[in-house]
Symmetry: C2
Subunit: 204 residues, 2 copies
């Protein structure tokens, strides 16, 4: 009933949609529930986004922008190969701590097929290129183990996103707990793992 004003309502709806798409999956989340969670009727949601697919696209773009911001901010003023890699991982874990459904949503985006994922990835493309160049020059400098840099980036991605999204597996394998402390432990593990995988022979 209260009129909140267009732009604000839009972003609230997108944020809630990301939460629910992440938790329930795109198919599993209903417009009714998303709208209800922000205190509005489905038809109001459909006023802002003419179709469920349009809502998804808005979510994908918003997620891409948000992630790009977070990573760019983490890179500011960081020097040295390892500092930068660690800062990126840390920033993503921070984002996941404050917004647990965010990585889930990204994984769901991948599941929805390449077209959907591109909407998200396009925003991040400059960062992707930067990361590949970063890894390649690290290899040239002898600070990173030599390998295909794009493939390495993919593997790093899967390790980070996986450790943020596979809660059930974590529970079954390790005996999880959902506390923030546990998240930090996982971050440390991923950082150690990645560091070990990155460092070249004789660097330790």
């Amino acid at each position: 009933m209260p009129r909140t004003g267009g732009a604000e309502r839009r972003t609230t709806l997108v944020e809630e949609a990301i939460r629910q798409f992440g938790r329930e999956g795109y198919g599993g989340a209903s417009l009714d529930d998303i709208a209800g969670a922000v205190g509005v009727r489905k038809q109001t949601l459909l006023y802002y986004f003419q179709t469920k697919d349009a809502l998804l696209e808005a979510c994908l773009q918003a997620a891409g922008i948000r992630l790009a911001e977070v990573i760019a901010e983490a890179l500011e003023g960081k020097e040295g190969y390892w500092d930068r890699a660690e800062a990126v991982i840390h920033s993503v874990f921070d984002l996941a701590a404050e917004w647990p459904e965010f990585p889930m949503f990204i994984r769901e985006a991948g599941r929805l097929g390449p077209l959907a994922f591109e909407r998200f990835a396009d925003v991040l493309d400059p960062l992707r290129r930067r990361a590949v160049d970063f890894l390649r020059s690290g290899m040239d400098d002898g600070q990173v183990r030599k390998q295909d840099p794009a493939m390495l980036l993919f593997t790093l991605y899967t390790a980070v996103v996986g450790s943020l999204t596979e809660a059930s597996v974590l529970n079954a394998v390790v005996g999880a707990d959902k506390s923030r402390a546990s998240l930090r432990r996982r971050e440390k593990e991923v950082v150690a793992f990645v560091r070990a995988a990155l460092e070249p022979v004789g660097e330790r």
Copy 2:
């Protein structure tokens, strides 16, 4: 119309359900489609599995059994830490090559919550324990970098399953192709990555 005989029909339905649950997700796959794909009506499916949930449970158990078989077979006659780890990864990639939806289904199982995942993981629990012991003794022997073995197993899991399921990401990051050769390349990458992450200081 043709009567195929109970047990055979059951397994055919389960296999098709795993395919569709993997591709479309649990919510996205319909009983009509699953039944239709094996040439039978939905009501016949419901004759074998009284409810969609029961079908899911059968799939989870079947998937657990299948994976346990594949891994156990891969471990037969293998000696040495690295041979065994590599053999397990290879066997999982082989399974994924012949049945691409299988890893997708496992990931979906994780998404459906701890209860569902346990149905799958319980079958694998002996192997899980074996893997943890294996990693721990490798650490004691100085053949594996020291760390929390359960956590390490989790990270290995995410790296392998991630690289098998995040096709859209692979496409966006590397410029994918879905050929079998590309799968082998990814396997080599994961093996190299894991090896680098496992080996202790000064082992190279």
